[in-house]
């Protein structure tokens, strides 16, 4: 089980084995980067967050509680750091209407794959942070309700409710862009 492997690596790392931390970075570098990237849609910010998350994890490994999954701990840090940046962005840019279609919205049956992907990511970006977070964790790092709840500190019922609202909003947006 991956959680047991992670817990063993954390123990080895605390015992002074640098390879154990390298193994944790190797395991989670990509998903942590993707969490931040899909939350913020900015590769530079995502890189900074990934670096910061692993540094904080390393410096606080002794405080890590092994009753929680290691990835829940670091995904939570990635989400929280992303939310901090989004708060600063929101203060500078004002709120976004989750339902408002983009300016260049229109039917687009012939969109190429990468254009289609951009439309999907733009729709995700328009979601409020709490809705975006559940979509990112569900679809881009493949977490289930229980994991998402542990990462975000909410119960599974709230996870389902947010996921439901987020999907509904995405469906409306993607429908407006002719993708459904």
């Amino acid at each position: 089980m991956i959680e047991n492997v992670d817990a063993a690596r954390v123990r080895d790392c605390l015992a002074g084995d640098p390879q154990a931390f390298a193994a944790l970075v190797g395991q989670y570098e990509k998903p942590v980067y993707n969490v931040a990237l899909r939350m913020l849609r900015n590769p530079e910010d995502a890189r900074d967050i990934a670096q910061s998350v692993f540094m904080k994890a390393y410096q606080n490994l002794a405080n890590y509680d092994p009753q929680y999954k290691f990835y829940s701990w670091i995904y939570r840090m990635a989400i929280n750091e992303s939310l901090n940046i989004l708060r600063v962005r929101d203060r500078n840019a004002g709120p976004v209407d989750e339902r408002l279609p983009a300016d260049d919205a229109g039917p687009s049956e012939l969109l190429a794959d990468d254009q289609q992907r951009d439309v999907v990511l733009e729709a995700v970006e328009r979601l409020k942070p709490e809705h975006r977070a559940v979509i990112v964790l569900r679809y881009f790092v493949d977490r289930n309700y229980e994991d998402i709840g542990e990462i975000l500190g909410i119960d599974a019922k709230t996870v389902k409710s947010r996921l439901y609202t987020a999907r509904q909003l995405l469906k409306e947006q993607l429908g407006t862009r002719g993708l459904l």
């Binding site: 790392c13 900015n42 910010d45 890189r47 900074d48 910061s52 289609q116 999907r167």
Partner: protein, 233 residues
């Protein structure tokens, strides 16, 4: 069955959470009701579109940077390893070394060393700081304005460079800027890219000092220092 219940069934279907009985109910509904079929197809397509977005590869060098950072952290004593209490004699040595560094910093605080590439101050935190390297000179001052910390940066550059202000994101937040410069804010770090020539940019933060400042060009650290101001509002 109302639309809300139908959508709950569809969502459970997408997430593989349907019981056998629920699956049968949904199948029957989809067979009988064209509106349910349309809704199911739309949610299913939304789900497929989201799943079709491939995971992005992290930028090259990220892992190396992370591991280099952790190795640096280990050297500076901020390591992952459990720290037992320091013996008294080591603690005393640390205190004496700290006092010596503080005293030396006080003496050197305004000393400018001409003719070197790296003249950023690494001395005790203060409200003013000058960083100077070939092609780039930065004068920075930090002051408190009520709840805000105001960092004024005056740059005079002939080469493209970056000024990086590092804050503790747990206690301090970047609020905004005044002045003409490209800027990114992420993870406790605000990066300003001033245009060449003489420029002035003001960064506002809410929270507490100190702020670490770095001057970089082409990925190279040209100078760094710390700015501090009383945190009393």
């Amino acid at each position: 069955m109302d639309k809300g219940q139908l959508q709950e069934l569809i969502q459970a279907d997408l997430d593989g959470q349907l019981s056998v009985a629920e699956r049968a109910v949904l199948a029957r509904l989809l067979l009988q009701d064209p509106e349910a079929r349309r809704l199911h197809a739309e949610f299913r397509r939304t789900d497929q579109l989201l799943r079709s977005v491939a995971a992005a590869e992290p930028p090259p060098g990220l892992r190396a940077d992370i591991l280099a950072g952790s190795a640096q952290s280990l050297r500076t004593g901020n390591s992952a390893q459990r720290q037992d209490g320091l013996p008294l004699y080591r603690m005393a040595a640390v205190i004496i070394a700290g006092l010596l560094i503080a005293g030396l910093s006080y003496v050197l605080i305004d000393v400018q060393v001409p003719g070197t590439n790296l003249q950023g101050s690494l001395i005790a935190p203060q409200g003013h700081l000058s960083l100077r390297a070939e092609g780039a000179e930065i004068s920075a001052s930090l002051r408190r304005d009520g709840e805000r910390l105001r960092l004024e940066l005056n740059s005079s550059t002939t080469i493209p460079c970056e000024i990086i202000a590092k804050i503790d994101p747990a206690t301090t937040t970047f609020v905004g800027k005044t002045g003409d410069a490209a800027l990114t804010a992420a993870g406790g770090q605000v990066t300003v890219v001033p245009q060449t020539g003489s420029r002035k940019v003001v960064l506002d933060f809410s929270g507490a000092a100190p702020i670490q400042l770095q001057l970089r060009a082409g990925g190279r650290l040209l100078g760094e220092g710390s700015l501090s101001v009383s945190n009393a509002r």
